[in-house]
């Protein structure tokens, strides 16, 4: 509980920063088993013109860049937790399973792409050869996460009174 109160606001803050950059506001933070922040990040789909640059992958890549794969592997073998403002999508959930993230704590549900139960339940796929996520918990600071997303979409509608051309549109992935 203490951990949630400590870390979810960090993820939310990352999300708010994404709004400033015109990105769908989803933020996250990876925390080590000693309770130390390993990396934080938010959506960069628009900036990178890449629909796979979700917060979870952006932050992970930052971590690898900063610490190197060997140290990252070591941290994950000791147990890494993830706090993310919105339920990880199917892609990210599979990535978290491959990385063997220990606890995934998320805010609001992701009805469009959710991989922790909303569209599929990837976190439940167990195989001897896929490490898997140890536990998943949703609904933590969910109201704040929803409010943040609503703020983004209202703002986006205000800024775009005319329908955008296809290639200029925001990536909602």
């Amino acid at each position: 509980m203490d951990m949630e109160v400590n870390w979810m606001p960090v993820a939310l803050q990352e999300g708010h920063e994404a709004i400033e950059r015109g990105e769908v506001p989803i933020g996250c933070v990876y925390v080590s088993s000693d309770g130390i922040e390993l990396a934080r990040g938010s959506n960069r789909c628009n900036e990178m013109r890449d629909g796979t640059r979700h917060a979870e992958l952006v932050a992970y890549e930052q971590m690898v860049l900063r610490m190197g794969t060997a140290r990252v592997r070591e941290e994950f073998s000791r147990g890494v937790d993830l706090y993310v403002t919105c339920e990880p999508c199917i892609m990210c959930c599979a990535a978290l399973a491959l990385l063997k993230v220990r606890h995934v704590v998320f805010g609001c549900k992701n009805e469009k792409f959710g991989g922790c139960g909303s569209v599929r339940a990837i976190h439940e796929s167990r195989s001897t050869r896929i490490p898997g996520i140890v536990s998943v918990k949703g609904g933590v600071f969910a109201e704040e996460a929803i409010e943040m997303l609503q703020k983004f979409y209202t703002q986006e509608n205000l800024n775009a009174p005319e329908p955008k051309k296809k290639r200029q549109r925001t990536l909602h992935t």
Binding site: R49, G51, T52, I90, M91, A94, R129
Partner: protein, 276 residues
């Protein structure tokens, strides 16, 4: 040459019969039918799985209504006893089709149990022409050769290539980085495609209209990455036994998602390109 095999959609797979499930129904008086329909929308809504069933049917001059799933009826009844008493219901458990019909013939067959509605699906992409198959096989061989210097992957394809089918040009390539658990070839290939495409004038929206070639069926993560990227088609030869996103899990065909793509499995086993 063996033709590439299109991974069948759920509704393309052969089916000689359909599964049944139990629901509780009751004869109702014509005058109270609409009231009951409204009431049941509240107390026992037809969940999505039963969405194909008509709520009411006419048998001769009588009306019958689906009250709800057999396993949910009991509790709904006891918590709404007062309300229901006035309707004189006479609950009968019957078997109905538990799936929606794929065509008119099925609709009629299922209707013998209980009437269902049939909604024709949107038209599917046509099957590729012979010439297109040839090109597809050519790219599949190409990616296969690229993989031959690498150790076989277990969880995902070791190499990937994104191709523009309009001119057959290679947009980007990717290879696995085994030092990292999620640096898969497909993900890398998408990253590289984004870099290349962003420099082109009149850039595409992500990978719209492009095809991805891999040796092994992409894993769940990479399959969803391809969905996010709006890829048109994915072609592979080897089944992913551990974490595949296509054959078993069919994430590329998930109706709840905002994009879906075609997938083909090619058979390169009888190919003699190695010796030629």
């Amino acid at each position: 040459m063996a033709k590439p095999l299109r991974i069948p959609l759920d509704d393309e797979e052969e089916r000689s019969s359909f599964p049944l499930t139990e629901v509780v129904t009751s004869a109702v008086e014509t005058s109270s039918a609409s009231k009951l329909m409204l009431l049941f929308k509240d107390i026992l809504p037809m969940d999505e799985d039963l969405g194909h069933l008509k709520r009411i049917r006419r048998v001769d001059n009588r009306l019958e209504i689906v009250l709800g799933r057999a396993n949910l009826w009991e509790s709904a009844q006891s918590s709404n006893e007062e309300l229901l008493r006035t309707f004189n219901l006479n609950p009968v458990t019957v078997e109905v089709s538990s799936v929606e019909p794929r065509n008119k013939e099925e609709m009629e067959e299922m209707g013998q149990y209980w009437p269902v509605t049939y909604k024709p699906k949107r038209v599917r992409a046509p099957l590729p022409s012979e010439a297109e198959y040839e090109v597809m096989m050519e790219h599949a061989r190409q990616i296969h050769i690229r993989s031959s210097s690498l150790e076989a992957g277990e969880l995902c394809s070791t190499v990937a290539m994104i191709v523009d089918p309009k001119d057959g040009s290679i947009v980007s390539e990717g290879a696995v980085d085994t030092s990292d658990a999620i640096s898969h070839a497909v993900l890398g290939c998408i990253r590289n495609a984004a870099t290349v495409l962003s420099t082109r004038p009149g850039a595409l929206y992500l990978c719209t209209g492009l095809d991805c070639y891999v040796v092994m069926e992409p894993c769940v993560m990479c399959t969803m990455a391809l969905v996010h990227s709006r890829i048109r088609r994915t072609v592979f030869s080897q089944r992913n036994e551990v974490f595949g996103g296509l054959l078993r899990t069919k994430i590329h065909r998930e109706r709840a998602l905002n994009h879906r793509f075609e997938a083909y499995q090619v058979d390169l086993s009888c190919d003699d390109y190695r010796s030629s």
